[in-house]
């Protein structure tokens, strides 16, 4: 069951690949099929099994604050 997900801003991501090295579930890959406007292959979440926990570890290491992290939480708690 998907607990979380991330969004990578292609305006901010510089393709440094650091996020790919820290995700405990190994869910981040580089999008080698295209370049960002700055000429980098951006990172992207590849989570076919919906394993992302929204742990935000990737965000902790991202030097460019390119990663936004979401997590499903009980509605009550979120309120």
């Amino acid at each position: 069951m998907a607990k979380g997900r991330i969004e990578v801003s292609e305006a901010l991501c510089k393709g440094c690949e650091l996020c790919t090295t820290v995700c405990p579930k190994d869910l981040i890959v580089m999008a080698t099929d295209h370049f960002t406007p700055k000429g980098y292959h951006p990172a992207m979440l590849q989570d076919p099994e919906a394993e992302c926990t929204g742990c935000a570890i990737c965000a902790v290491i991202c030097p460019d604050a390119a990663i936004t992290v979401y997590r499903w939480v009980p509605a009550a708690k979120a309120a």
């Binding site: 510089k14 370049f35 700055k38 000429g39």
Partner: protein, 184 residues
């Protein structure tokens, strides 16, 4: 005869080195040459840009407002230099990072997917050489052989293993220019 070529892109795209190759090739062919860089507002990821002048006589100013030719490796460079290149001049556009073609009708231009071509040949950092090949295809200020010699002589030691790939990149660029060019 004097030819000025501007090469412009993001830092790290090899614009400066491409210009040096041109200048070395010019010098080795007995011409007067100058190479002059300029850096944009940012250190890395910012703009890097150089002007190469190749001339039959002593060179006065090493900078010009209206170059004969330009290689533009990203969109800001296209935006800037499309307007500045001399009428009937040459514009080589790196289509990998630029999604529009030149609009001026009095230019000879070509769109080349430098990054992809280079990546296929083994290293995307050779995009600059692909584009250089394309330039010579359109503006034969020097021959491909002269440039190939310059590559052989001046490629940095740590990239020497890529020499053959670079030579290929050069010719591939020229070939693409021959195929895709749009003449004024």
């Amino acid at each position: 005869m004097q030819t000025e070529i501007v090469i412009s892109g993001f830092g790290g795209q090899g614009a400066l080195f491409a210009g040096q190759l041109l200048a070395f090739a010019g010098m080795d062919s007995g011409k007067f040459v100058t190479w002059i860089p300029s850096y944009g507002p940012e250190m890395r990821g910012g703009t890097a840009h150089c002007t190469v002048t190749i001339s039959d006589e002593e060179i006065g100013s090493p900078v010009v407002r209206h170059p004969k030719a330009a290689i533009v490796m990203n969109l800001p460079s296209l935006d800037k230099y499309e307007a500045l290149v001399q009428p009937q001049g040459v514009l080589v556009v790196n289509a990998s990072l630029v999604d529009r073609s030149p609009t001026r009708s009095n230019l000879n231009w070509v769109m080349v997917h430098g990054n992809e071509v280079a990546e296929e040949l083994g290293d995307k950092r050779m995009a600059n050489v692909v584009l250089l090949g394309a330039l010579l295809g359109l503006e034969p200020v020097l021959t491909l052989d002269q440039l190939a010699d310059a590559l052989r002589n001046h490629i940095p030691a740590r990239r020497r293993s890529l020499l053959d790939a670079n030579l290929k990149a050069l010719h591939e660029g020229a070939a693409l220019a021959a195929r895709d060019r749009v003449l004024a």
